[in-house]
Symmetry: C2
Subunit: 251 residues, 2 copies
DNA sequence: GGACGCTGTTCGACATTCCGGGACGCTCTC
DNA sequence: GAGAGCGTCCCGGAATGTCGAACAGCGTCC
């Protein structure tokens, strides 16, 4: 997490370093020293970048020390969310689904090999889930993540092993369950990621039939017996299909 | 809107240009040409920056052309929102207020001389307002903006004139109304910004008594007769005071 | 149908720009 | 009151980014 130039960003190192500073602050660095430690930059350099980022509103600097992410990121973050047609067209359908099931509904995409939540409608019963818009989660440990990789059969094993280092057994069983999910057109999560939380999820496809997002319904175990999960499959699939059609999917 | 170096960005011009590219895309530039036009950069330079920004997830580039803001901004945007203690402690109080008044509730701060919305709870009646989290509005044309500048008596006239170029009369009347609002500890908006929308707003103060945010209740005119607006003043002020206390305000 | 004009993209030489050591003032600790 | 730690500023050397030119792929206009 110290060097970034491992990849191949040819020609622009100052911008890269600046973005690295933002990431450091996003990940909890709150003063100049921790920023230099995380980024590997010199004091002067880091300080100069911080100053510029503050001027642009990407960072907020309270009383010299105490950095935090700034208001410009709030503005552009929401703008990014709404520049994407998906959350906009999906919203009403998600609301309808939430109304019907009375549980927490999520919308998510794949980004950088992870689940990225784009929308969330909290359920009315049980404890509220800790998920938030903008949060990231592993692909193979969440129901919605599994729905997102439903079509990538040849990557299942590799993804599972990458996210389960240490205990790399269970891969066989995972692949078997994924086969099953693919046949049903919906994935499930039985408390793998978070104990006590279960969920049912279905993929959303664009005009070309490619999976671009997924919907899920989640609830605590008492509200999610096996029988109800089976009953939710067609409901969640119907919502996903409805969103897919809005994106031009014909199938 | 073409040049940025008008200010005094000491020492770091590449980062500044990169952030300028992001802003260009945020403001609607969707291809390389429009980015170069807005930023004033050369084709090569702009392209290199775009590449790096895409790699970091700040921009999304579909099929070479067609730029949009990327997923990293979504992630950091929400993180920025929740790193700030204000939206977190305010949330439950805003929900309670929304429940009580059944109209749209907003939370906002001042940023870069504008109102920046940090939270919104849509009302249950009338058309939904077009405001969104992350949106910006003028300070002197919105009720919540007026609440935010309630203590800045010496800037009222300048702010008003800055935001009302052309018809710079009415400044006297504006100042007069602000005096009135200050006495009551709450500001109002009578369809000045958006026809048909009225609102009542009150300032939130930190431990030092400085106004750091404001709450507002908005609704369409039929739901907001003058009498109800007067009745809402103590309600909105109570909510604002409750949030202020959570921030350490003693007053 | 051929040439143009417009995209996004790459490369390389020059000089501009940024890096980082060092020094300053400050606050808090011992 | 000495020291360490913080954020902040400056200046010379050199690594860095800039910009022009050129390439390839399309769509378009004559």
């Amino acid at each position: 997490m110290v060097l970034n130039d491992i990849s191949l960003p040819a020609g622009t190192q100052t911008l890269a370093r600046g973005l690295e500073v933002i990431r450091a602050v996003a990940h909890g660095a709150t003063d100049l020293r921790s920023v230099t430690e995380v980024t590997g930059l010199g004091r002067s350099t880091a300080h100069r970048l911080v100053q510029l980022l503050e001027r642009y509103g990407y960072l907020r600097v309270a009383a010299g020390r105490d950095y935090s992410l700034g208001p410009t990121l709030i503005e552009f973050g929401f703008r990014a969310l709404h520049q994407n047609p998906l959350p906009v067209v999906a919203r009403p359908i998600l609301e309808e689904l939430a109304e019907k099931v009375q549980d927490t509904v999520h919308l998510a995409i794949v980004d950088a090999g992870e689940v990225l939540y784009l929308d969330k409608i909290p359920g009315n019963r049980g404890a509220e889930m800790r998920s938030r818009i903008g949060h990231r989660m592993p692909l193979t440990k969440t129901g919605i993540g599994k729905a997102l990789i439903l079509d990538r059969g040849d990557e299942w094993r590799a993804l599972y092993e990458a996210e389960h280092r240490g205990s790399a057994d269970g891969a066989e069983e995972f692949v078997g369950r994924m086969e099953d999910y693919r046949r049903h057109g919906a994935a499930m999560d039985l408390e793998e990621n978070e104990p006590g939380i279960r969920c049912v999820s279905a993929p959303i496809r664009d005009a070309g039939g490619v999976i671009v997002a997924a919907v899920s319904v989640s609830a605590t175990k008492p509200f999610m017996p096996a029988q109800r999960m089976r009953g939710l499959v067609p409901v969640v699939r119907a919502a996903a299909r409805s969103i897919s059609r809005s994106l031009g999917y014909g199938g």
